[in-house]
Symmetry: C2
Subunit: 147 residues, 2 copies
């Protein structure tokens, strides 16, 4: 009934793929979203929450919660090291850094596996379409806000 519906099919697919990703990250003890954020922080230590939110395309409040979680697990820490004392930069701890190899390996395996299951070209095509869509929708959203 909603066979042709982009919304229906996108949400459904996202739920399914999330299941896969969650399974892969379970041994590390992180949910996919948390794992991604940690991986980002490992690669670019010292970003402010604001920047993390932008780069990961999440809301600031969401990033706050995620950093809370990672921080509670002792994997990252906030530092108020800038002149502007409102900002805080986020750094991985030693424990966090120890997960880097596992995280990298897991994401590489997932990438390879999903492409094996779904087909290399299909995945690439879908990714570029989704990226294009995201940009276009954001533009449209801006337009809506200014109208």
């Amino acid at each position: 009934m909603f066979d042709e519906c982009l919304y229906f099919n996108a949400t459904k697919f996202t739920r399914l793929i999330n299941f896969f990703w969650a399974e892969a990250y379970r041994p590390i003890g992180l949910s996919p979203s948390h794992a991604y954020l940690l991986q980002f922080i490992l690669n670019q230590p010292g970003e402010t929450l604001q920047n993390l939110a932008e780069k990961m395309d999440l809301k600031l409040s969401t990033v706050t919660r995620f950093v809370d979680v990672l921080s509670a697990k002792g994997l990252v820490e906030r530092r108020k090291e800038n002149k502007d004392k409102r900002e805080c930069s986020v750094y991985p701890t030693i424990e966090g850094k120890e997960l880097k190899t596992d995280l990298d390996r897991t994401s590489k395996i997932l990438r390879k596996e999903i492409r094996k299951i779904l087909g290399d070209k299909s995945v690439s095509d879908t990714v570029s379409l989704l990226k294009k869509f995201s940009i276009q929708i954001k533009i449209e959203k801006e337009r809506g806000n200014n109208a």
Copy 2:
């Protein structure tokens, strides 16, 4: 950094599109998921929760909550009308039926609008890829369960 990642781009896109859909359904007073379920029930009254879950690709527990919400708003009702007294069938109430026109109109507008923004062919292509993916992932999931 996660530029080529299917998971990252799919979740991001889903968040964005959800925003759009939510806005469109707000005047009706329903979230997109609830609206979709109601629309389904309007088109196929009398399905059991189990069937609703299958057809909408949601978990039974999720459908239970959604029906709770719709039912609290007086839009649908559960009936224990089958010989198997565990089952209940879900029917729209008169108030629910009154929303049909609005729901149909909104979904038609959304479909048209999103295709105007993103391009007709891109949307169709993406939908068929996503559908194919969902099927393949479900097969893979089955295989995982039996292993």
